[in-house]
Subunit: 236 residues, 2 copies
Amino acid sequence: MKQKEIQIPFCNNCAVNTNSVFKHLSSDEIEIINFEKDFKQYKRGDVLYSEGSRISGFFCINKGIIKVFKTGIDGKEQIIRFARPGDIIAYRSVLSNEPACTSAKAIEDAGVCFIPAHILTDFVKENSMFSMEVMKLTCHELGEANEYITDIAQKTVRERLAEVLLNLINDFGLDSDNYLRITLTREELANIVGTATESVIRLLSEFKSDKLIELSGRKIKILNRKSLEKISNVFS
Amino acid sequence: MKQKEIQIPFCNNCAVNTNSVFKHLSSDEIEIINFEKDFKQYKRGDVLYSEGSRISGFFCINKGIIKVFKTGIDGKEQIIRFARPGDIIAYRSVLSNEPACTSAKAIEDAGVCFIPAHILTDFVKENSMFSMEVMKLTCHELGEANEYITDIAQKTVRERLAEVLLNLINDFGLDSDNYLRITLTREELANIVGTATESVIRLLSEFKSDKLIELSGRKIKILNRKSLEKISNVFS
DNA sequence: CGGTACGTTGAGTCATATCAACCATAGTGG
DNA sequence: CCACTATGGTTGATATGACTCAACGTACCG
């Protein structure tokens, strides 16, 4: 059987380039990344890096979806965020020079570039536009994390599940049939919401009886966004 | 009655300087901050800034303790972190050019310098050492936020309260009598842990019966740190 | 001497976790 | 081709942690 050709993306015409944190790099700088990067493909479930490890660089997602999570009590995962094409992950660990505080795993087959740490630190020092972009990114993530803390601390599981669905709609969108463009296991949903798998199952079927969503396997069809917003208490 | 003299701290010999994010600034740069900053005193309960507002600069704590919090459902506060002398707050909003995502209030009488936004952005652009320090600070906070999310999502209130006490010990220390060097209302404790005031009260008196702590008003005396660690599940 | 904010305790309720059983599906190896 | 196993999904029963509500005590302050 003929091996499928692997397309290594070129940074200079990488689709993710235009709106990413790299948007203010010169073409020379892009070329440096292109030369030094290492492209790799991952299958669903493959691990990119693990909590506690020292990482010698950071990752830029070219294709697929990656979940970034922490491992808590009894090995239960808490999903912190998802990374999509154009997103970078593990940069926090590089910049703060600490071991990774999260792990990352592919939830869809993915193509990912690995970029050596020195490129990030060098460019941050040399290119203040880039530096500001990275800063903005970090600050934005920090803002979201603070939001998340407040939500988990104050909202019910039901409210949070509705909110998570809305966030997923925002981040991944719906296809022409109103199906969510990301498929997660019930356990993964639970690990975002911060609850038990069974609770997610029960609440999803409640939402289904209330005609807010439809379920077919892991695919979730959104029927009534307005009501989800009401449930999630997003404006309060 | 004679007005008490206000001591405006000089940045160049400010005690908080040596180990702060400013440590790599030149004396010229420090002088600029010293010239442009605005010193102000706050009493317990005074607000430094409020969620949603645009802030034209950031704050550097000289004296006292500030709580940084978000306002959630029904106006319930979720305390995100505390700022002590040497810490800077509201810099996130300046760097990401977003409205403040938190509020800040003095929980002890405090002295605080306000530093215009352009100083932060200018120095970040011009001084890569400083830029890296700010980056490290942000990344560190992000790491802590992620930790917090996992804790709140997975631990019981009891575990979290024990952990909060340990964190307070770490951050503020104990006096010679083993009393915690920060005094909070029960409600404030609840707003860190993410629970109801009554729950904190009950658990504290449980800890007291178990000889882990002693209570006299708002002062908390730590009797058995090891057991608190065991309860909090910090190593799991 | 009220007034206000904080602290405490009890009782009742409810949301959510836990435990257990069972089904569906897909992949594996003999 | 058929057990065999693993993984994920579902449902029900039960337990309980934590919240809410309410009453009351306490302390400080003008």
